[in-house]
């Protein structure tokens, strides 16, 4: 079973840059309803798509620097990184199918 890594300002760069597979980072917070709505979808994707990409989460409440660096001003925002670079930006909660489509289109 694939796990979802919890990133912080301190670990973000290292994890994202050293990821062998593309990595999808979920910028979220406890007080965000739509973030909670997509959490179970991300867990499913982490399991089902583990061969294609990894998934990580970053709590914007306690990791403002990283959120600011990537101009995240709306959550949930999902950024897809390939070799450390942002290749796709998904904003807002979406159904699983739509989410996966946008991710795979950019892998």
């Amino acid at each position: 079973m694939a796990t979802i890594t919890h990133l912080t300002d301190a670990t973000f760069d290292e994890v994202v840059k050293s990821s062998e597979k593309p990595i999808l980072v979920d910028f979220w917070a406890e007080w965000c309803g739509p973030c909670k709505m997509i959490a179970p979808i991300l867990e499913e994707l982490a399991d089902e798509q583990s061969e294609k990409f990894a998934i990580a989460k970053l709590d914007v409440d306690t990791n403002v620097a990283t959120a600011t660096k990537f101009s995240v001003m709306s959550i949930p925002t999902l950024l897809l990184f390939k070799e450390g670079e942002v290749v796709a930006r998904l904003v807002g909660a979406k159904p699983k199918g739509a989410m996966l489509q946008e991710i795979t289109d950019n892998l």
């Binding site: 917070a29 007080w31 965000c32 309803g33 739509p34 973030c35 909670k36 709505m37 997509i38 979808i41 914007v60 409440d61 959120a67 101009s71 995240v72 001003m73 709306s74 959550i75 949930p76 925002t77 904003v91 807002g92 909660a93 979406k94 159904p95 699983k96 199918g97």
Partner: protein, 319 residues
């Protein structure tokens, strides 16, 4: 595979879930199609999923948050046997019985139902002005509870004059230095208590008789262009964030060809939740542009479940 149910409930806001509780307790084993995740208020749990404290829902004197209230309603519906599914109905055939419903990705209908309760609610309206799409999520937001945090110490604005607009503006003062409420008229539609709260909040300013004609900024919001609704003069209000709370439009796509809508586009109901089609009932905001409260919506969900149960009996459907 097709599932058959006595009652199919479409929507999972207060109306849909209250209908599910009542239909469940009537041993009708309702199927509830909850909707799919979205950030537009058209989602499982409905509009309340994007709100903060609900202070006027009876039974919660200390107030309760929208998502918490909806989680409780969902749990209660489940307890009485409702079959809740995260999916979206994209087509309903109500021209013959049993009714048939197509869910996301269905080529053939996957649910048949003896009766249907339509509780699809309403979703937020957007401004439809230049700059809005480009700057969405770059300073323009429809969810104060989600995004307010990013505007700490900044000057921002809320567009709208109803209870939701005031609630958002008041909430946003926790973070922002100032919140300008941009409203097309010279007075608020909001309830008296909300108006007083806004007027007495030093961080809330007002731009009366003002209409947003453009959202300004390239990479992120830098301001809005306002037009005076009386004089027609335009001016620029420099702000770094803008939240839209200008009202809602009913989610009627499923039934536009099936049911008559009123002038405002809402489903017409009579004698409780009856629509023009026998066995098809409507509850909540999809049929109510007058009250639109969590409690009235829940009440109308109860009405629809009782109407459906009695109607099923007259049709000779036993439990």
């Amino acid at each position: 595979m097709t599932d058959h149910t006595r009652v199919l409930i479409i929507g999972s806001g207060p109306a849909g879930l209250t209908a599910a509780i009542y239909a469940g307790r009537a041993l009708l084993n309702p199927i509830v199609i909850e909707g799919e995740p979205s950030s537009t208020t058209d989602q499982p749990g409905g509009q309340l999923m994007l709100t903060t404290d609900i202070e006027n829902f009876p039974g919660f004197p200390e107030s309760i948050t929208g998502p918490e209230l909806m989680a409780k309603m969902r749990e209660q519906a489940k307890r009485f046997g409702a079959d809740l599914r995260v999916s979206k109905v994209h087509k309903v055939d109500a021209t013959s019985r049993p009714f048939r419903a197509w869910l996301t990705d269905d080529v053939e209908p996957s649910i048949t139902a003896d009766s249907v309760i339509l509780a699809t609610g309403a979703r937020s309206m957007m401004l439809n002005v230049p700059g809005e799409d480009r700057l969405y999520s770059h300073g323009l937001s429809t969810c104060a509870t989600c995004d307010g945090f990013f505007f700490r110490g900044q000057d921002i604005a809320v567009v709208g004059g109803g209870d939701s607009a005031i609630e958002e503006a008041t909430f946003l003062t926790r973070f922002a230095s100032s919140v300008t409420l941009i409203h097309r008229r010279d007075s608020l539609r909001a309830s008296k208590i909300m108006q007083e709260r806004a007027m007495s909040n030093e961080k809330i300013k007002f731009a009366w008789n003002s209409k947003v004609t453009e959202v300004l900024g390239e990479e992120r919001v830098e301001g809005v262009r306002l037009e005076d609704t009386i004089t027609g003069e335009t001016r620029v209000l420099p702000i770094t964030g803008i939240f839209i709370a200008i009202g809602h439009i009913p989610n009627t796509t499923l039934v536009t060809d099936l049911l008559p809508l009123d002038e405002a586009g809402y489903v017409k109901t009579s004698h409780g939740s009856y629509t023009n089609i026998d066995g098809l009932f409507a509850a909540g905001d999809v049929q109510d542009h007058e009250y639109r409260q969590a409690i009235t919506s829940a009440g109308s969900g109860c009405v629809a479940a009782i109407d459906a149960e009695r109607w099923l009996e007259t049709q000779g459907f036993s439990h």
